[in-house]
């Protein structure tokens, strides 16, 4: 079985920064496994500014940040289109590559599979199932990677930082959200987020507004919202479910299988920015280097 010192599962900010740091610490036998055809992770499709400060002391867009991460790992063993299917015991992995199924092993495996937003289904939102309902992540890919405008007048559900990323993404292609709906009495992003939404983007923020149902046959036609005990219908042609991030733990539904595995970045602990993930990748690499030395 192919075997290495370290295997890193996930080629996003955490995984790539850990790979770079391990190489700098003199640990050369490191492989990064990335299931997509390109590394860089979520920043690849965050087309707006706000990336790179912690790592490079620059203010970049997400794709630029992702490109810099790729550049920094040039020459390292980074394998795309390689999917880890299952964590076995003793640092072994079941994988899928362009040549089929296989197994790999390492003295240490770092899980850096990141995070994703909670989709409509897991929120148990009622209504029909028309087209035009998506998370911010999917919207960003539509807009920044494929230059596709999935709707014109959506509502945004949630008011976390990522909800503002959704606003920026909409603005990029001239999509004009009708409203930002927040279930809680206050918005989740730090103040004055609501003022920014209203005055910078021209999008009203409605707090204490709970989404009850999505309406529409083929495409979204309206949403039903409950606000202060009253129900109202808001006409719109799309719904963007933002935030409520959940770690991508599909590989470890009952936790890590043995001590040869550890996790870092957004698959581990509370939600972090890509810069914080990058830093956590550095610390994880140092931790792993120490372990390997012992």
């Amino acid at each position: 079985m192919e075997s290495h010192d370290v295997i890193i599962v996930g080629g996003g900010p955490t995984g790539l920064s850990a790979a770079r740091r391990l190489a700098d610490l003199g640990i050369r036998d490191v492989v990064v496994l990335e299931r997509e055809t390109e590394t860089g992770g979520i920043p690849r499709h965050c087309g707006h500014l706000g990336f790179g400060w912690q790592s490079h002391k620059r203010l970049w867009t997400g794709p630029r940040f992702a490109a810099e991460l790729r550049k920094s790992t040039k020459g390292l063993d980074v394998r795309t289109a390689t999917t880890v299917l299952e964590l076995l015991k003793d640092g072994q992995l079941r994988i899928q590559t362009p040549s089929g199924l296989g197994e790999m092993a390492a003295k240490h495996v770092l899980i850096a599979t990141g995070t994703r937003e909670t989709p409509r289904s897991a929120r148990l939102v009622g209504g029909s199932r028309p087209q035009g309902v998506m998370n911010t992540g999917a919207l960003q890919q539509h807009v920044y990677l494929h230059h596709n405008k999935p709707f014109d007048r959506p509502v945004i559900i949630g008011s976390e930082l990522v909800s503002f990323s959704a606003l920026l993404t909409c603005r990029h292609l001239g999509i004009k959200p009708i409203a930002m709906l927040e279930e809680n009495p206050q918005i989740s992003a730090p103040r004055p987020g609501d003022l920014i939404a209203r005055f910078v983007f021209g999008v009203p923020v409605r707090t204490s507004a709970k989404l009850i149902a999505i309406e529409g046959r083929k495409n979204v036609e309206a949403v039903e919202v409950e606000r202060r005990g009253k129900r109202e219908h808001i006409a719109c042609d799309g719904v963007i479910f933002t935030g409520q991030f959940r770690p991508e733990t599909a590989l470890m539904p009952t936790g890590l299988p043995s001590e040869q595995f550890s996790s870092a970045g957004n698959v581990f602990g509370p939600l972090k920015t890509s810069g914080e993930c990058w830093q956590q990748g550095v610390s994880a690499a140092e931790e792993i280097a120490k372990r390997l030395a012992n």
């Binding site: 999917t83 209504g127 029909s128 998370n135």
Partner: protein, 452 residues
């Protein structure tokens, strides 16, 4: 279309497709007219995908007869069409003393229906079989022959086999009117006029409306909505058998079952409505279903929900199916086929062919299948294309680029995004398209326009 067909089937659900397959194999010239932009876009798109023995069906009913015949034929043909079968068995569980008391009658009815291997099991045996069930499961009835299948691959395979035997399937072909003159029907559809010697109404939730083309409908469709909640794959390990409730007069009740795709689902509810097309979910009911599942299997509280959906079954005021030939009108009615339709479809097709034989002309005595059209496997635990290294597009369900291309290819390319999802399961996993939906939108751009 200028040509004259022997058979025109109205409705491209599992029942219509099984009928189309049956007559096409018999060598008749057949056409199927489907109102949706793809097959399986009505009642057939949202069911629980179980293969039933008929142990609890009304004795001596046509439904039971068709279910038994359909069950047997599915087992006969499934390997040649590459269709899955998960021999899970089912257990009717008694959760309190009153339900426990109702179990012996269920065993008795099953035996009367000819399902002889059904037997009562004690609480000890129940716990041995299903250790994750809640402690208040007191006992049960074990039905070894109830199985899990894949609700979309089976009818898709029937469609492909019908096409291979020369049938034609027209989509976006809503039948709005028709005229019977002397010996043939001229059906008016959104895709033009179709002439056929015999028309067969398998229009599901629109069955009574289509029936009006031929006569005053002997049945009225009362769409019955069923909502479902689907748990993520780790849940699958928590259950083996299909868990059935003690049934009521109105419905078979809410079922907890594994799916062929390695998930665990609960549903359906039974809610009567007038709307024939749109089945909506409501969060109250979804929450109730989820809690109900957790009550039955407490360990489910740690598993995420992947998906929710709702289906509409074409119930009618009759307790049995309405399948009859209208003599002098060259018309066959296939109406009120409720949730058992997936199991019964092949049996219904056979029964309909007998009605044809009796009333409208002789079918060849023996007409073995000349072509087999195995469909791509979507189910867990069997060979899938990603295992050979094909590029994965949908990571949650391991759907490959090759599978998507196949679903978009002739002879029956997916007619819309829903059709693509049903053919591949792309975007139906835990992330619901967070990672891949934009990529798939790009792949399918312009591919759904103007498909026949």
């Amino acid at each position: 279309m200028e040509q004259r067909f022997d058979i025109a089937v109205i409705g491209g659900g599992v029942v219509g497709l099984a009928i189309l397959r049956r007559f096409a194999i018999a060598g008749l010239k057949c056409v199927l007219l489907e109102r949706g932009s793809d097959i399986l876009s009505g009642a057939s798109k949202g069911n629980s995908a179980l293969l039933h023995t008929g142990f609890d069906a009304p004795p001596r009913s046509l439904e039971l007869r068709c279910m038994k015949a359909g069950y047997a034929e599915y087992l006969r043909i499934r390997q040649k069409l590459n269709l899955p079968l998960f021999e899970s068995g089912a257990i009717v569980v008694g959760w309190n003393e009153a339900e426990l008391a109702a179990l012996p009658a269920i065993v008795e009815k099953a035996h009367k229906n000819g399902v002889k291997d059904v037997r009562a099991i004690s609480q000890t045996e129940l716990r041995l079989k299903e250790p994750n069930l809640a402690k208040n499961a007191l006992g049960g009835v074990f039905i070894p022959g109830e199985h899990i299948i894949d609700a979309w691959s089976a009818p898709l395979a029937y469609a492909h086999q019908a096409l291979a035997h020369g049938a034609i399937i027209l989509r976006n072909a809503d039948v709005t009117d028709g005229e019977f003159t002397k010996d043939a029907w001229t059906l008016v559809s959104k895709r033009g006029k179709i002439t056929a010697s015999i028309a067969i109404n398998a229009a599901g939730n629109f069955g009574d409306l289509v029936e009006m083309i031929a006569r005053l409908s002997p049945f009225t469709i009362k769409p019955r909505k069923g909502q479902f909640v689907v748990f993520d794959k780790p849940a699958c390990k928590l259950l083996r058998a299909i868990i059935l409730p003690v049934p009521t007069a109105h419905t078979k009740g809410v079922v907890l079952f594994r799916t062929a795709f390695g998930n665990l689902a609960i549903g359906p509810t039974a809610e009567d409505q007038d709307e024939r097309e749109i089945a909506t979910c409501d969060s109250e009911t979804l929450n109730r279903l989820k809690s109900h599942a957790v009550e039955m299997i407490p360990a489910l509280s740690n598993v995420d929900v992947n998906a929710t959906y709702a289906g509409l079954r074409p119930a009618s005021e009759h307790s049995d199916y309405v399948i009859e030939a209208v003599k002098g009108k060259n018309w066959i009615t296939v109406g009120g086929i409720r949730s058992t339709g997936l199991t019964a479809s092949l049996g219904i097709a056979d029964y309909v062919s007998q009605l044809y034989d009796k009333n409208f002309g002789k079918l060849p005595k023996k007409s073995p299948e000349r072509f087999w059209t195995p469909v791509p496997n979507l189910s867990e635990g069997r060979i899938r294309p990603y295992m050979k290294g094909d590029e994965i597009v949908c990571h949650c369900e391991h759907v490959t680029r090759g599978e998507i291309d196949t679903a978009l290819a002739e002879p029956l390319p997916a007619g819309d995004m829903g059709g693509l999802k049903r053919r591949t399961r792309a975007m139906m996993g835990r992330c619901q398209g967070f990672y891949c939906s934009a990529h798939i939108a790009e792949i399918t751009k312009g591919r759904f326009d103007g498909k026949p």
